[in-house]
Symmetry: C2
Subunit: 166 residues, 2 copies
DNA sequence: TATTGTTATACTCTATAACTATA
DNA sequence: TATAGTTATAGAGTATAACAATA
């Protein structure tokens, strides 16, 4: 995820956003993200993980949880670099939420297992973030919120313009 | 704006995003932003400004252009810190696209004027970015794209949960 | 005293390059 | 040779704190 402490962005004044900027997609996306991060932050404060760690646990544990991913596979799912994943796993392992286990079939790889505590943290944090999302998206109405998320998924699922589908 | 060179995010593989993550709003927003930044980057390469500078010029020039904003006022419209604005204006001024003029009525303030060259750059870059947006949002259809942007505006316009409306 | 612009500085996030060990 | 994980490093972006000029 990306609910980091550095998504600061000074609080916008009243009568905001100005019309000209409200047309610019990058502006809208940037500040939607910043606003959501602000909403998430206090809700996550009592939890043992932050938004990015929730993302990693979600990628690893998923709803099924029956998969055993390597660090690199998890990184690919999150679309982050494998070097970034190292520190993320370090943090989660220090908290006892995941455990690295060398893959017996290919000892270069680390299988990352979500521990029982990790699964608990994942479930708790997921419930929290879902509540925050619901509150955040409330202005769109129930249908609007659903369509909004679907639109985002559609944008991500559609192939990048430079790499058609090779 | 935020189409920066640091929005790297490794290219996602096929069959992406995975279902569990496709539910997470922060994940969706982060990657929508990253994808859009990727789409903008090559289109902006031949221009003299980048996405953030377009944001500043847009805030300053607006569609009307009849306003004379101080650095701080522009920063507030963009919801960035006034110290961040300093370097942004420095860059634009070096390129001759804006000009700082002390406000005769309050000599602490700098009125930032968009020059003729700045207006030209603004117009050109706006046309480019609008084309990129249209292509990026194409998967949603024309109506879907419009509703999507409206939803984003609605989310930004609605008051932050901690600061109801004081 | 408070505010605007400024500078110096620090912090977060993330990637690139190089190294180790396995394959 | 190529790949997974690791480490060190660098860069972008942005904020906080302190200072000067002005109000």
């Amino acid at each position: 995820m990306s609910g980091s402490a550095q998504d600061h962005t000074p609080a916008p004044p009243d009568g905001w956003p100005p019309a000209a900027l409200a047309e610019r997609l990058s502006f809208l996306l940037k500040h939607a993200q910043a606003r959501f991060a602000e909403a998430v932050e206090p809700a996550f404060a009592p939890l043992e993980i932050d938004g990015r760690e929730l993302g990693v646990l979600t990628a690893l544990g998923g709803p099924a949880g029956g998969e055993r991913l390597s660090q690199q596979e998890a990184a690919q799912r999150l679309a982050i670099d494998r070097t970034t994943m190292v520190a993320l796993i370090d943090g989660l392992e220090d908290k006892g939420l995941v455990q690295r286990r060398p893959d017996p079939r290919d000892r270069r790889r680390n299988i990352v297992e979500v521990t029982a505590a990790g699964r608990q943290a994942l479930d708790r944090a997921t419930a929290v973030v879902e509540a925050v999302e619901q509150r955040f998206l409330a202005p769109l109405g129930e249908d609007g919120a659903r369509r909004f998320k679907q639109a985002l998924v559609a944008l991500l699922a559609s192939p990048a313009p430079d790499a058609p589908d090779d």
